[in-house]
């Protein structure tokens, strides 16, 4: 890799000693190669790209998966109960002869829906709360953040369980229960970002020009804080999916007849003793895969957006 540097033993000819015409820009090594670094960064995050691909595939399968088999997800067939995976039932069947493949992808819809909705609601509430707190500053900020600090001390899982007990089972109650304390992290993040951005010149200029605070927030501050916000969003989703799975596992999850991956895993737990482990394996595997994909993608996103690349 050592560049060839043969000693300049030769005597250059006289005519080369005239003044040069032309500018520095013509020299190929004078200008930096900007495109090189961006591409490099992208390629370096194979895990992040893999995560994204998996997310896309999962979403596609959640939509199209059930169509791929001729069975409905709740179609019972008492003649074909607990069959292992085969050509007819790719993921096998369960206690009631239902096709596990179809159920898995219907379950995907529920789990992904719950995870995404909770994360998005966390986003909206967190952004609004944090944005207002950060841009208002002063006493308002102090009070609002005290509230956040206080609520932050409550363990998320505990509060979610308590809310679930109060609200009763249901698809939307799960989402509400998770969001009830889930928005705190996002609020803190957004507030921190807003505080940073507030000091920037162009923001202060806009303010001096008389732009109203709400518009300032919406048009200038939030869009520029989007980077960390997006990263946080992609990392909240797997946490939400995990919480939903845990709740379902504890029996506090989506009510019958809906089935999420969490409830399927809970149902499948008994198969450890009965040996029909495919009922447990498939939903469990997809929970893990989804969490991995979102985590990997979120990590990749964060590294890509972080100006200080320290490796």
């Amino acid at each position: 890799m050592t560049p060839a540097h043969a000693p300049e033993a030769l005597e250059p000819s006289r005519e080369l000693f005239r003044l040069r015409e032309g500018s520095a820009a013509e020299l190929p090594w004078a200008a930096p190669g900007a495109a090189v670094s961006a591409l490099r960064r992208l390629r370096a995050h194979r895990l992040g790209v893999a995560g994204l691909i998996i997310i896309i595939l999962l979403t596609v399968m959640a939509g199209a998966g059930p169509q791929l088999v001729p069975y409905a997800s709740d179609e019972q067939n008492m003649l074909a109960t607990n069959e292992p995976p085969s050509g007819r039932h790719w993921f096998g069947t369960d206690d009631f002869g239902r096709d596990v493949f179809a159920r898995t992808w219907i379950g995907a819809r529920i789990s992904l829906f719950v995870g995404l909705s909770a994360a998005l609601l966390d986003l909206v509430i967190g952004v609004v709360y944090g944005g207002i707190s950060g841009s208002a500053g002063g006493g308002v900020d102090l009070v609002m953040m005290r509230v956040v600090d206080l609520l932050y001390g409550i363990p998320h899982l505990l509060s979610t369980i308590l809310f679930m007990v109060v609200l009763g089972p249901g698809l939307f109650t799960i989402i509400v229960a998770m969001v009830a304390t889930g928005w705190l992290g996002m609020a803190r993040l957004v507030r921190g970002q807003v505080l940073l951005l507030k000091e920037l010149d162009y923001v202060q200029a806009a303010h001096a020009l008389g732009v109203r605070p709400a518009r300032l927030l919406a048009r200038h501050l939030i869009p520029n804080a989007m980077g960390p916000i997006l990263v946080n969003l992609t990392l909240t989703i797997p946490a939400a999916i995990f919480t939903e799975a845990t709740l379902s596992f504890l029996g506090l999850g989506v009510p019958l007849p809906l089935a999420s991956w969490g409830t399927m895993t809970a149902e499948g737990l008994v198969t450890l003793l009965t040996g029909q482990t495919w009922r447990l394996f498939f939903p469990a595997f997809f929970i893990s895969l989804t969490m991995f994909a979102f985590n990997a993608f979120g990590d990749g996103l964060r590294d890509a957006l972080d100006p200080r690349l320290r490796r």
């Binding site: 250059p12 000693f17 040069r20 020299l27 670094s37």
Partner: protein, 343 residues
């Protein structure tokens, strides 16, 4: 200052480093030497490779950071680049000491000053614990730290910048080295503290007769304390000579530019000057002279062939085609720098 064999002789050092953006050809054939008891200043812009040279010679880069390395660095006759880590360790601190630029980040925050200096002492000799403490205090006194007993028990964050730098110097000298490499020792400090630290370095050098390599981008510092100067640009030494020669009779356009850039209180013009253009990025290979793009005296030969070192006086050399017999002599002050010129 004796004219005998050089204490440290770097010869044709090429070094490539891995970065997030790819391989940087940081050093493209560095050649310099320092003799016992002499102060050599190495000057150049940020990024020209001054620190890389020093750290590379002492083997302070992690193996995975180095893309390639060739050349020689002879210290008392032994090539540092071929030594094992064990052998290098015996030289670091005991024979060659190094003071770094930012004292806040160069001292470990979780250990006290006394612990860090004591460690440096014990790294090379066996000393009884009571004796260690005595020597630490003595060293701190030597570098001018008041109340050394108190300071030795304190953590770096409890000391001011100037005191931290003194402590750092004490730690570097703990092993009694014959060569001290000071990498921009005053850059991170206030101007008044700068003068104090320079005084300290000068008196330490005179008292112990050790050689000093002073890396800096500040020509004023050079004039104050150095015997000889080496000017560095884009990973190479472009001019080298005594302070008198290089500052009074500079022989390289880059040095002319650097000297022109010094603000002068007696000058008629109101604007500060800077050299036009930017230094090259060192990620692609450079053909010809690295300064050609910014040099108004550039000739065709400059972009085609890299200039060798030409003699410019007794012990004074410069890597510039202008010194070739075929080149036309040029008047020094021409439009090298932006800002009004005096023609």
């Amino acid at each position: 200052m004796n004219g005998d064999r050089p204490l440290l002789e770097i010869d044709g050092l090429h070094l490539g480093l891995h970065t997030a953006q790819g391989v940087v050809h940081a050093l493209r054939g560095v050649t310099l030497h320092v003799r016992p008891g002499e102060v050599l200043a190495v000057v150049g812009e940020s990024g020209c490779g001054k620190s890389v040279t020093m750290q590379g010679v002492l083997g302070l880069f992690q193996p995975w950071q180095i893309a390639y390395r060739s050349g020689r660095a002879l210290f008392q006759g032994r090539d540092l680049l071929t030594l094992t880590e064990q052998a290098l360790r015996r030289i670091r601190g005991a024979q060659i000491g190094m003071v770094f630029q930012d004292p806040m980040t160069s001292l470990t925050p979780t250990l006290t000053i006394g612990q860090q200096i004591g460690e440096a002492l014990l790294a090379h000799r066996r000393i009884a614990p009571g004796e260690v403490r005595r020597r630490v205090i003595a060293l701190l006194e030597q570098v001018g730290v008041p109340h050394p007993q108190v300071r030795a028990a304190q953590y770096p964050f409890q000391l001011s910048g100037g005191l931290r730098q003194r402590a750092l110097i004490a730690a570097a000298l703990a092993g009694g080295p014959s060569l001290l490499i000071a990498d921009e020792p005053t850059t991170a400090l206030d101007v008044t503290i700068q003068a104090q630290i320079l005084d300290l370095l000068r008196s330490l050098q005179r008292a112990s007769g050790m050689a000093v390599i002073l890396v800096t981008h500040d020509l004023g510092v050079v004039a104050e304390i150095a015997h000889r100067v080496a000017v560095m640009y884009a990973g190479q030494i472009v001019e080298e000579g005594t302070v008198e020669q290089v500052l009074r009779r500079p022989a390289h356009p880059y040095t002319w530019g650097l000297l022109d850039c010094l603000p002068r209180l007696d000058a008629a013009e109101g604007r500060l000057r800077s050299i036009r253009g930017q230094p090259p990025h060192l990620m692609t290979e450079i053909v010809g002279c690295a300064f050609a793009g910014r040099c108004p005296h550039a000739m065709e030969v400059c972009v085609e062939h890299a200039p060798p070192q030409f003699p410019a006086g007794d012990g004074h050399r410069s890597a510039c085609w202008l010194l070739h017999p075929s080149a036309e002599p040029v008047a020094r002050r021409t439009r090298l720098t932006t800002g009004t010129t005096r023609g």
